[in-house]
Amino acid sequence: MSQRQDTAGSAQQASAAIDPVPGEWQRVSGKYIVVDLLGTFVSAVIFVVGSGVAWFITREPWFLVLPGVALTIHVLIAAFTPRRIRAIGYRLRDDDLVLRKGIMFLRVVAVPYGRMQLVDINRGPLARAFGLSELKLVTAAAASHITIPGLAEADAEALRDRLVELAESRRAGL
């Protein structure tokens, strides 16, 4: 987080990366890194085994290319996971919620509270074991696509109630 603030301070002169609203971000739980890594691991096992079936049957060496590619992709994903998750940040401003995500593909979204149509809380089996939840906001636009993963259960519920309350006080039409 401190590193983030440093860049925010010196962003104005030369940074090519976007940072439209410099300042402090609320971070998601560090435990989510573990959850995400486990998920990547499961997916890696499925893909490597699945694409290795051809090799297992034929024993042709070049059928090993597929599991090799699958493994490489998953290792790369896993290598970037900690940074990717530490890059997720959200902030409740006066009238809107701002969410930033991504290191390679940066995306910052601002949603006015009055535009929220509903707030979902999802818990996958892995995340539940770690006591984490995922918060999802839905607006009338499908492109908004706002999910905040890796929130502690109590935080997620508090945030949901707060958002619903804010949305209620700024109710707008479509």
Binding site: D19, P20, F105, L106, G173, L174
Partner: protein, 538 residues
């Protein structure tokens, strides 16, 4: 059921209620649809069945009245395969007649019951519809969330003097369809619903146009021949019409027509050279010929559909109407347009023709033809630049009236400007690698109440997103954009044919746009009252 000024519809709905508004149907009581509804809904099927039966019986009728003309008695070839003879010979005639009669009776009873059970009511807050015999449906739509009301008159229904009223809510398949109502009832009910939805406290009923007088036949004929848009309903200076020549010309100069010509040329080439050179290319015909038919019918459909097109301003929103045999007109209340795109392809540029599309919160049900759902997003199929400005004035009245001449000039540059030195903030020189032809044009401008995104040098496109309708805004940057110190901004609106996204902006410009749009969206939403568009009057 009808107010004193509307003519009595034959077989109109229930008991005369206290007239409120134009029709008295919007009085909070339950009403029924036009009694001919089952016939019209199952109309086509009935015609087909009757046609099949008559076709099968034709020779028999002839035989009955003129014996010996069709069948020589004793000729086995003539009657061997006739199912009616089989029934008579086997003595099943009575049973068969009874079965047919029974089926017809059951159908009639079922239709009658379903008509009895299909009721609707309009209160100050909601419109409700109950339907179904075995599977009951009860649908309720809030009036202040109505996205538009359309009146469809398929040819078959027009002959019977009826219309289908579609009250469109926000979302997929969120329509309350009242099919069918009498012609003048449909028009009046729409006016009533819009008046209730507008939140108007004046409670005054709009004057309804008196229907043509005379006998039933005269009225039907007059209705069929009447212009699609009643000139008495709207201010004439707000009407934009389209000439048939321009419609045909624009279709001929469209991308599909170019494809069609290319495909036709390929087909002729293969057929001409078929015997000698291109013999092995015959298989291409299997894909080309259906394509030719598809494109051809699409173009013909487009022309036929938009004949007699008009768009006009009414006190309760924009009215878009078109159609020659089957007509359709739709009223969009203020504040229901989520974004507007004015577009022009390369072939239209010499004639300065443009097309205007909109994003709306309603999407037709899946049972609707996909084409129809798509068409209702086109508000101006083709028009001159002058037409475009009049349509924009109707769709986004605040934009042009508050901004005055400046906004109009800005929009002009948004449509046709090609230099980067105007009021649009455009892609910097280094972005030309990503926008080869359009980097001087690719840009944005903020005006009070809307964001303008200008894109495309070959397919010109000016997208206008009114700030009160914005859902959220995102700024995006991938590795390539970062390497060039560029970024993109995506303004989120409800789904539709328009995606208001602009790429390859300077990082600082993009961040400024993001901050400004986010702030403007919040401020505009707080002030917006268009869901009850007349509640501020008086």
């Amino acid at each position: 059921m009808t107010g004193p000024e509307t003519p009595l519809e034959p077989g109109g709905t229930v008991e005369p209620a206290v007239a409120s508004g134009v029709t008295g149907l919007a009085d909070g009581e339950w009403h029924r649809l036009h009694p001919a509804t089952p016939l019209l809904r199952g109309g086509f099927a009935l015609v087909v069945i009757a046609g099949v039966i008559i076709a099968n019986l034709r020779e028999r009728f002839v035989e009955w009245f003129l014996p010996g003309t069709v069948c020589v008695p004793g000729d086995d070839n003539c009657s061997g395969r006739d199912p009616i003879d089989y029934l008579i010979d086997e003595g099943y005639l009575l049973i068969a007649l009874g079965a047919v009669l029974g089926i017809v009776l059951v159908c009639i009873v079922f239709f009658w019951v379903s008509w009895r059970m299909h009721t609707f009511r309009v209160t100050d807050e909601v419109v409700e519809m109950r339907s179904g015999v075995l599977f009951r449906t009860h649908r309720k739509a809030r009036l202040d969330r109505i996205q538009g009301i359309s009146i469809n008159r398929p040819l078959f229904a027009r002959i019977f003097g009826t219309a289908k009223l579609d009250i469109e809510g926000a979302g997929q398949d969120a329509n309350v369809a009242l099919a069918y109502l009498g012609n003048s009832l449909a028009d009046g009910l729409r006016a009533d619903i819009l008046r209730l939805a507008s939140g108007s406290r004046a409670g005054k009923a709009a004057a309804s146009a008196p229907g043509p007088a005379g006998s039933l036949i005269d009225r039907r004929v007059a209705e069929l021949l009447a212009p699609e848009l009643d000139p008495a309903l709207v201010a004439p200076e707000s009407v934009v019409r389209m000439s048939a020549g321009r419609l045909v010309g624009s279709s001929v100069l469209s991308g599909s027509a170019v494809f069609l010509v290319a495909a036709l040329a390929a087909v002729t080439t293969i057929l001409v050279l078929g015997s000698t050179v291109a013999g092995e290319f015959y298989w291409i015909l299997f894909s080309l010929v259906p394509m030719v038919f598809g494109l051809g019918s699409y173009l013909v459909n487009r022309v036929v559909k938009f004949l007699r097109y008009s768009i006009a301003g009414t006190p309760d929103g924009v009215r878009v109407g078109y159609g020659l045999l089957s007509t359709r007109n739709e009223t969009l209340p203020p504040g229901r347009i989520h974004s507007v795109a004015v577009q022009q392809n390369l072939l239209w540029r010499p004639a300065d023709w443009w097309t205007v599309r909109v994003n709306r919160a309603t999407r037709g049900s899946s049972s609707d033809a996909g084409q129809q759902a798509q068409q209702s997003t086109v508000v101006l199929p083709v028009g001159s630049r002058e037409d475009v400005f009049r349509v924009l004035e109707l769709l986004l009245p605040e934009l042009l009236t508050t901004g005055g001449g400046d906004v109009r000039e800005l929009l002009e540059r948004g449509l046709a400007g090609t230099r980067g030195d105007d009021d649009f903030t455009t892609t910097p020189r280094r972005g030309a690698v990503l926008r080869w032809f359009s980097w001087r044009r690719n840009g944005f401008a903020l005006v009070p109440g809307a964001v303008l995104l200008r894109r495309g040098a070959i397919w010109r496109d000016l997208t206008i997103v009114p700030t009160p309708r914005m859902q959220s805004v995102a700024i995006e940057q991938g590795p390539i954009l970062r390497g060039l110190r560029l970024a993109g901004v995506h303004v989120h609106t409800v789904a539709g044919p328009i995606t208001p996204r602009i790429g390859a902006l300077d990082v600082e410009d993009a961040q400024r746009l993001f901050r400004d749009v986010a702030g403007a969206a919040v401020a505009a939403a707080a002030l917006d009252r268009s869901h009850r568009w007349r509640s501020l009057e008086e």
